[in-house]
């Protein structure tokens, strides 16, 4: 029986390791769906969230969410430093939406490190845009607002 548990642990450990630090670890409560964010940005609400793209500049310059800012890849140290610098003067309850959409959700290397960085800085109102496949498919493909 003990051998069975050891074997199972050995099998499960790589899977858990592979998923740690990935988008799968972001709590559901911290996700925002594309339709919901599109509704927010297209509605004349006085306080809009700070929307930050933490993927690729080339992707951002081709198409991005109106009002969003390019920061840098969340998987890279330079991107995280740029993110920290951008929010340095923000209040901890500032509404922030992070998005990338470079890859299918479970394989995006950028959103989880960026989310974790803001969490560790004490930001309490951070959402991550859930893009199941990528930005092209789940945002532009759905006809949501785009700036180029």
């Amino acid at each position: 029986m003990r051998k069975l548990f050891v074997l199972l642990a050995l099998l499960i450990a790589p899977l858990l390791y592979a998923q740690s630090g990935t988008a799968f670890n972001i709590p559901k409560a911290n996700l925002i769906q594309p339709a919901e964010l599109n509704k927010i940005i297209t509605t004349k609400v006085a306080t809009q969230p700070l929307i930050l793209q933490i993927g690729s500049r080339m992707m951002f310059e081709q198409a991005h969410i109106p009002g969003s800012e390019y920061i840098g890849a969340g998987s890279q140290g330079s991107g995280i430093e740029a993110l920290k610098a951008r929010v340095a003067s923000s209040k901890k309850n500032q509404a922030i939406v992070l998005y990338c959409g470079c890859c299918p959700w479970g394989r995006c290397p950028n959103v989880a490190p960026a989310f974790n960085a803001l969490q560790s800085l004490g930001f309490t109102n951070v959402k991550v845009l859930y893009l199941e496949q990528d930005f092209g498919t789940n945002w532009i493909g759905n006809g949501y607002a785009v700036a180029r």
């Binding site: 029986m1 069975l4 199972l8 099998l11 499960i12 899977l15 592979a18 998923q19 690729s56 500049r57 080339m58 992707m59 310059e61 081709q62 198409a63 840098g72 890849a73 998987s75 890279q76 959409g101 470079c102 890859c103 299918p104 479970g106 394989r107 290397p109 950028n110 496949q133 990528d134 930005f135 092209g136 498919t137 532009i140």
Partner: protein, 171 residues
């Protein structure tokens, strides 16, 4: 015996779970550029040699958009390098275009993986010309006349891309 049966069930479940976690993303063909002439690339690669699709006419070209921080991209690239070796430079060529912000990161990845095919940096103009590179990896197959024959989004299974390459080389 019952314990063994349970173990086998759990093992099968875990293998299935692992396959969902690691097997490639779907591939999809976007018809918009299929059958059209591939937009010219014309830019220096990391060895300062000019990449030109016009110069590659007569060969089937695999054009791959990638990023150094993209896991599926890094899994594919050594396979593409192997395909380039396998099919030889007379009939087949691979070209990589990085969507990284900086060349240093892309170059480091190329060197780490020991990639032999030409790789250059992308830009907005090129992304737009190819119908929007709004996710990576994206791979195009271009026939010997410079016409786009296939577009794949996400990591491609080797057997899928190889079958298409063979089809185009024979054609």
């Amino acid at each position: 015996m019952r314990l063994r049966a349970k173990f086998h069930c759990i093992l099968a479940g875990l293998i299935l779970l692992a396959s969902f976690a690691t097997v490639s993303a779907q591939t999809s063909l976007k018809p918009s550029l299929i059958g059209r002439r591939a937009p010219e690339i014309l830019r220096p690669d990391f060895n300062k040699q000019t990449i030109s699709l016009a110069k590659l006419r007569g060969r089937v070209v695999l054009l791959n958009f990638w990023a150094s921080w993209c896991g599926p991209c890094l899994k594919e690239m050594p396979r593409f390098d192997e395909l380039a070796r396998q099919y030889g430079e007379k009939k087949f060529a691979v070209v990589g275009i990085s969507i990284d912000d900086d060349q240093a990161s892309a170059l480091k990845a190329v060197e780490r993986m020991n990639i032999h095919y030409p790789v250059a940096m992308g830009d907005v103009k090129l992304g737009n010309a190819y119908g929007g590179v709004l996710g990576v990896p994206i791979t195009y197959l271009i026939d010997e006349n410079g016409v786009i024959r296939a577009r794949f989004e996400g990591e491609i299974e080797t057997k899928v891309i190889e079958a298409k390459i063979k089809e185009l080389i024979k054609h």
